[in-house]
Symmetry: C2
Subunit: 215 residues, 2 copies
Amino acid sequence: MMLLYDYWRSSAAYRVRIALNLKGLPYEAHSVHLVKDGGQQHQSDYRALNPQGLVPLLTDGSFRLNQSLAIIEYLEDTHPSPALLPADPQSKAQVRAFSQVIACDIHPLDNLRVLQYLTGPMEVSEERKLVWYQHWILEGFKALEKMAASYADAGPYCFGEQVTMADVCLIPQVYNADRFNCPMTDFPRLREINDNCLKLEAFQKATPEQQADAT
Amino acid sequence: MMLLYDYWRSSAAYRVRIALNLKGLPYEAHSVHLVKDGGQQHQSDYRALNPQGLVPLLTDGSFRLNQSLAIIEYLEDTHPSPALLPADPQSKAQVRAFSQVIACDIHPLDNLRVLQYLTGPMEVSEERKLVWYQHWILEGFKALEKMAASYADAGPYCFGEQVTMADVCLIPQVYNADRFNCPMTDFPRLREINDNCLKLEAFQKATPEQQADAT
């Protein structure tokens, strides 16, 4: 069985949990607590597995893989059904671009290690940290709302009738936006997609609060 | 012919230039000057093409695509030879993970809009901005050096005898590291791969200084 090094509040790990559930792949979750013990991801035994010291990490037999989008594409390559990417190259590219707006240009700016570095060595105040956090979500969501708008009549999800990797990335990011009180009024389509996805069991089971290490 | 919205110093655009050259695909470069006129990427005609207001953007006929890794995978899907990803799912996943360490966890923290936001609304000093810049490169390179080390005897490039998307991402990031005087002494393998890649014409032709908009 695959083993997922996981943390309930990690939105990159949340993406992988959704993808595993959508594909019906059983896995064992191994919690790496990002806050407790000064951050278990920094401990040498975990760094030996993942030199980045981040979650998620997936093991499939003796194969170890970091980076959430690489993991999701690996699941897609090895367990193609149900597909999380369209077959047509242009549609597939659009799903990847949407996903990367989140995975490259929103989330990495707001994750824990960056916030800690901002208020630590950069001496940014807690108040300004929140401004930073919301700024990058709002910047990214403006683009995503436009990217999703042209598919609004095509079905309940980002790119139509089928759930794709774009939805897998969007829902954890909306969770973060809500957690930090980002105003969502300008993003009605993203909110709608979020609500549609959360009707599905694969998404429900992956939510942070449903994880064994949630506190 | 494909059209690349490009900027000589954008390392995300640099990745796409390398990939186009490796695949022998002719393209027309359209410069979007990220500094002149307060940043041409913010102008409404460009935002209409790319709602993120970032480079690169590729057009292929009427098809428009943003996000450098999505573009490279699109080129791979539509022009598979020479391949920039291995066929084996596990090797392919490792190349993607390596690429994403750069494209998700190093570069987005150090790109122009983030540095401008740091010294602007976050009121971080120019001196500290440089500390920030180097910190994320060094953090990422530590992991990449370990990820590449196991392939050091397999060939001149990140993952052996064949150039992959990993090399396509690494070389622009080393360029940035050198530009901002990041100490590279702890990363002998990354330096070696960089030097090997820059012996190839596809990489040479893509370097910032070779672009028509270089100043």
